[in-house]
């Protein structure tokens, strides 16, 4: 570095500190960090706690401050009303069904295609691979209208096929699994082939057992992604009974009911992904890090 000057450059904050003659010690700095993070944590979790407490409050028309965080009496009335007045139970079923089939299908096909792209030597491999990359850059929302027109031509609007279809394969998943297969030494394949296994056996019995963590990561990300998707399920369903939970809850939000009813719906939509998040957060954070790193 040619620009080295004898005196170290100081940040504005350091200069300010020197100027006012204040040098915070480590303990004070740690305390300040915790204070900041605490405030941020309250602002992140607070709305969810309020949501839960209002959903358990009797006869609550508006959500107003100050609020009793522990309602008295605690009641499940809002949930009963929600299930009686809306199709929330059906929407929950739809969401679970669609998310589970989409997740299992997507992980399965990604693991298959990832294997083929990592190990296979077949005609058209590179063209197909670049085609997949090309599709990946297509913004989802730009495809919504033509997708709807196609499904409407095929008579598939308001069908599970339409809700699950595009989720039954994943380009991100295919790339992820391809990377994972590439990280396993080819010696495993060679040994299996010498033992008389074909490529299918090699895939299923030799390589796949080593990739369970990656498959779980992908599965959790796909489940979350599918459960939380909104625009696509909104346009491919027009009948109330075919809606997914988020789309159904969107109609609840727009209908302007009681705060209690709204929050009961919010809790219902919140709990499934919250539970998956609690159980699989290690995998989720790993998966997000993976998606951000190059390669």
């Amino acid at each position: 570095m040619s620009s080295l000057r004898p005196q170290a450059q100081r940040s504005p904050l350091t200069l300010l500190r020197v100027w006012i003659g204040f040098q915070p010690n480590q303990g004070l700095r740690t305390g300040f960090t915790y204070l900041l993070m605490g405030i941020l944590a309250v602002s992140t979790v607070g709305p969810f706690i309020i949501m839960l407490s209002v959903s358990l409050t009797q006869n609550i028309r508006f959500l107003l401050f100050p609020i009793d965080l522990i309602p008295s009496p605690i009641t499940l009335e809002n949930f009963q009303l929600l299930f009686a007045r809306t199709l929330a139970l059906r929407w929950t079923y739809n969401s679970f069904y669609v998310a589970l089939v989409s997740t299992l299908g997507g992980v399965f096909t990604s693991t298959m295609a990832g294997y083929a792209f990592a190990r296979g030597d077949f005609i058209g491999r590179n063209i197909l691979f670049y085609m997949f990359v090309g599709i990946l850059i297509m913004p989802e929302t730009a495809l919504i209208i033509p997708q709807y027109i196609m499904l409407s031509d095929l008579g598939l609007v308001n069908s599970y096929t339409a809700l699950i279809g595009p989720w039954f394969a994943s380009i991100f998943g295919t790339f992820l699994m391809r990377q994972q297969f590439l990280s396993i030494p080819r010696d495993y394949d060679d040994a299996a082939l010498i033992d008389g296994a074909n490529i299918f056996d090699t895939w299923l019995r030799v390589l796949m057992p080593q990739l369970i963590p990656a498959m779980v990561t992908l599965g959790i990300l796909r489940f979350m992604g599918n459960w939380n998707s909104f625009l696509y399920p909104l346009i491919v369903t027009t009948k109330a009974e075919m809606r997914t939970l988020p789309v159904g809850l969107g109609t609840v939000a727009r209908s302007g009911g009681d705060a209690g009813l709204d929050m009961a719906g919010a809790v219902l939509g919140f709990v499934p992904t919250f539970v998956v998040f609690l159980l699989g957060q290690r995998y989720i954070i790993q998966g997000v890090s993976l998606s951000g790193l190059k390669g």
């Binding site: 096909t109 495809l143 209208i145 033509p146 727009r254 997000v288």
Partner: protein, 306 residues
């Protein structure tokens, strides 16, 4: 040996061998291929055809050539929607990039309980937009004693109308978006921060760089590829914002939150103008493509950083 010197028989045999070797691999990709052709490639190609028609998908279908594209020039609501879309990106991307980076630096310290805080910050990100909209519609209510106005009142700021105010609605939705997504990008920044090799800091110190200077010459240059990634991804997301707008404002008040995607949705499903909506989709695609390309071009370090 070039293929021209091979005799036809040998050539054919080589090809047969190659095909036979290829065949067992196709079953592994066939489902992927079918899904992408049916749900991506086919709609993508048909979009260009539909864009040249005037159609309501039921009885009416009339070839209009490039009329749908010409119509865009006179569509005032489209112009407003594009303006709103870019304004939304400006209100959403810079705060999100800065906040998520600052939080990442904060939770990257070696202190107790960091894992807990990281998980907590990630929570809104795994929650779907309908849930957040149900909750925040109540929080953003214009009443004096609704949560946000109550808190504003505590510090002496008069009650605001948020989603009902044409100047605040878009910013309110951008704020909700930042709150929802900062945890996600915090994790991306964290991965980048933790991938910086410690020896680089040691080398920096040997060269006489400490504190702020160390960060300026080591941390910031090394974060630049990640910064490019975060900016491009958040911008692409911002240009496609829909869910919160659909549930919270329905494009209002007075079209103040009508963005490009909302306009497309509304043209198709409220006015059954599917040809025009297809043409608008092509426009949206081109806008996103150009912006992502330009950002990639100017943000990325062409040279290796270390």
């Amino acid at each position: 040996m070039s293929s021209a010197t091979l005799r036809p028989v040998a050539q054919r045999r080589a090809l047969t061998k190659r095909i036979l070797k290829s065949l067992p691999w196709y079953p592994f990709i066939v489902i992927n291929l079918v899904v992408f052709v049916v749900f991506n490639l086919w709609p993508w190609l048909s979009m260009f055809q539909t864009a040249t028609f005037k159609t309501d998908l039921l009885s009416h279908r009339e070839f209009v050539g490039l009329d749908n594209f010409v119509k865009m020039a006179g569509d005032e609501l489209l112009h407003l929607a594009l303006k709103n879309t870019f304004l939304f990106a400006l209100l959403y991307v810079p705060p999100l990039v800065v906040v998520s980076l600052l939080v990442a630096i904060l939770v990257n310290q070696k202190l107790r309980g960091m894992k807990f805080f990281r998980s907590v910050y990630f929570l809104p990100n795994v929650t779907n937009i309908a849930v957040l909209a149900l909750v925040f519609r109540r929080f953003l209510s214009p009443r004096d004693d609704a949560p946000f106005n109550y808190l504003l009142g505590l510090v002496g700021i008069p009650a605001q109308r948020f989603l009902l105010d044409i100047h605040q609605a878009l910013a309110s939705i951008a704020g909700l978006g930042v709150w929802q997504s900062f945890g996600f990008f915090m994790v991306i920044w964290l991965a980048a921060l933790q991938a910086i090799p410690q020896p680089l800091y040691d080398a920096g110190r040997v060269d006489g760089a400490y504190g702020w200077r160390l960060h300026r010459h080591v941390t910031i240059p090394l974060l630049r590829p990640t910064a490019a990634f975060v900016v491009v991804i958040t911008t692409i997301g911002a240009l496609q914002e829909f869910g919160a707008i659909f549930i919270l404002t329905g494009g209002g008040p007075v079209n103040a939150t009508t963005t490009a995607v909302y306009h497309i949705y509304s043209q198709a499903f409220n006015f059954t103008r599917f040809g025009y909506a297809s043409a608008l989709s092509i426009l949206l695609f081109l806008i996103i493509l150009v912006i992502a390309y330009v950002q990639n071009r100017y943000l990325k370090f062409d040279e290796e950083v270390y």
